[in-house]
Amino acid sequence: MTGLSESTSANRPAARAGSSATIPVPGEKRVFMTGNEVVAWAAIAARADIMYGYPITPQNEVMHYWTRLAPKFGKEFLQTEDELAAGFTTIGGVLAGKKAFTATAGPGNILMQEPASMAEMMRLPVVVVIMQRGGPSTATVIYSQQEVILTTFGGNGEGFRIVYSTSGLQELYDYTIKAFNTAWRYRFPVFVLADGYQAKMREPLTIYDPLARGMELVPPEQYVGRPGMPGVDRPPGHYRNTYNTEEELYEILQGHVQEYERVAPEIMEHESLETEDADLLIIAHGVVGRAAKQAVEQLREEGLKVGCFRPVTLRPLSAGALRDAVSRAKRILVVESAYGQLGKLVRDALCGLVVEMFSLYKPGVGVTPEEVVIRSKELIA
């Protein structure tokens, strides 16, 4: 993409003019770009209205590209004082009836859990993109899969949220667009969980205008500031996340539980490869799924019965499909750039099944196909 370096100061009036009629992405286009850039383009393509953000590596370039693109399409950006404010202003944007999003990583993701909890309690369709970095604490700015538990269950509640884990830049584009649809359709906060590798790496993908592909874009709705005099023409919108009694909260949460359970099957996604006759089933998500996939291809070439299950939604996890695949295998191998976070989700989903579970846990470090091959061979031998 070229032409991203034009001055933005001249674009303020355009931004004020509201949503632009310009088609964000002209039809289909093959591009070669980094993941952070992909997120910005996908948000434009999804007709997101406003981003609120705070600098943290490795997601900074999401903001850099958004602030260059946004004024050209009549969109807004606010740099806040921290990730708490980034999250809460995103909530504000959603309440005002706009497609609002933010992006963060690591320690920023920890702060983001406070607004995310409010979004869960009030079922607000905020979209948050996470580029995982090493942890705990500041650790590295590079890469990890150590924010899985935080992103799926990080609030002081049951994790009524949707988490998509992408494995590469095409998926990052597809699922960022999808995140806005899922959020506004089901009214649960949605996370796109990627990582520092996907943020910074460059690979070919096709960007497209979802409308030109005939995809539906779920429109946003105002929570506050709807037309008419409150109390006269319409009831005032009174939104809270505090309740006085246990019973009152319980009733509200029962509603959340039922709705989440009802829609979960429509939301769950996974990818399986050679699972039908696999003796060894490798379970991996995100970018590590690529190493697992490569390993499976190589092992199959060598005549070994190995398959791979990659959950795309980590929350809700496709437990049924996973149990199905696992029940056919003799052993499972969980591979992740964390120490047992996906492992935890998997164990939870498999409760009651009898299967030997093994792991290749590399917290904060990338996993190569070679390592997966070696570990798999140990288990098959």
Binding site: D82, A85, F88, L95, E114, G225, G228, H238, R240
Partner: protein
């Protein structure tokens, strides 16, 4: 504008402050485009008090929620209402930065010198020597510092165009005027507006009516000077030259959205 009976303790300052705010909203004719944000703490009891769209948050995050709404829809008039704990302690970064950016929102902060809803602990605003649940022998300024001077801080960091004042529930007419000026500042898009409001809490102060009022009117103003600290020149002129003459115009402008619809 109709309100519900409030849920505050007898003698609580919130009821007085909110009534003044409601009247300010009515005076400006902005009920249909006001968004009222309340925080956690006693301020949250106002979550369904007014016939205006209301959002309840916590920990001073009401400021960024209102900022987010305002940025996404600048036609709305956004009011963040919170206590001294939310504004000056746990959420102080939001107040500081919203002021620094001159966000076109209005923050109203009730200062009752302690954390009321959690049971009367020391707040940044607790007076020297004042007994609270976490300063049972009185606030020792050597260890815990002096009372936070919120409006003074905001006035120092907010750019031109901001409106900053400290009012008190003991002077309701003056307080309401401050609220009108603060909201007018937002309506006219000049900048941030902030009104700290000295408020009573007889429940946690453990005071009778007489002592409550004495604390509010005598002890608190020793540290918290009541008055306007920062008034944009234009607001001053608008109001001085025109409280009678231009006000109808201001009010029309304020309710322009209603007319358009």
């Amino acid at each position: 504008m109709e309100t519900k009976p409030h849920k505050f303790c007898p003698g609580c300052g919130h009821g007085i402050a909110l009534r003044a705010l409601g009247q300010a909203i009515d005076e400006l004719g902005i009920q249909d485009r006001t968004v009222f944000g309340c925080d956690i703490g006693c301020s949250l009891l106002a979550w369904d008090f007014f016939n205006v769209d209301t959002v309840q948050t916590h920990h001073g995050r009401t400021t960024p929620v209102m900022t987010g709404i305002k940025r996404a829809n600048p036609d709305l008039i956004c009011i963040a209402y919170m206590g001294d704990g939310g504004g000056y302690a746990i959420g102080s970064q939001h107040l500081v930065n919203a002021a620094g950016r001159n966000e076109k929102i209005t923050v109203i902060l009730a200062n009752n010198t302690q954390y009321a809803m959690t049971g009367g602990q020391m707040a940044p605003t607790t007076l020297p020597g004042q007994k609270t649940e976490t300063t049972p022998y009185g606030r020792d300024v050597e260890w815990t510092g002096l009372p936070a001077q919120g409006p003074e801080m905001v006035a120092a960091i907010a750019p031109e165009g901001a409106y900053v004042a400290r009012g008190t529930v003991s002077k309701v007419r003056q307080l309401q005027k401050m609220y009108v000026r603060a909201l007018l500042n937002q309506i006219e898009g000049r900048g941030f507006s902030f009104v700290e409001t000295l408020a009573t809490c007889p429940t946690n102060w453990r005071t009778n009516a007489e002592k409550t009022w004495a604390f509010l009117e005598k002890q608190m103003p020793e540290y918290f000077r009541v008055g306007e600290l920062k008034v944009p020149v234009t607001t001053e002129e608008t109001l001085k030259s025109a409280d009678s003459r231009r006000r109808p115009e201001v009010l029309r402008k304020a309710s322009r959205r209603g007319e358009e619809e």
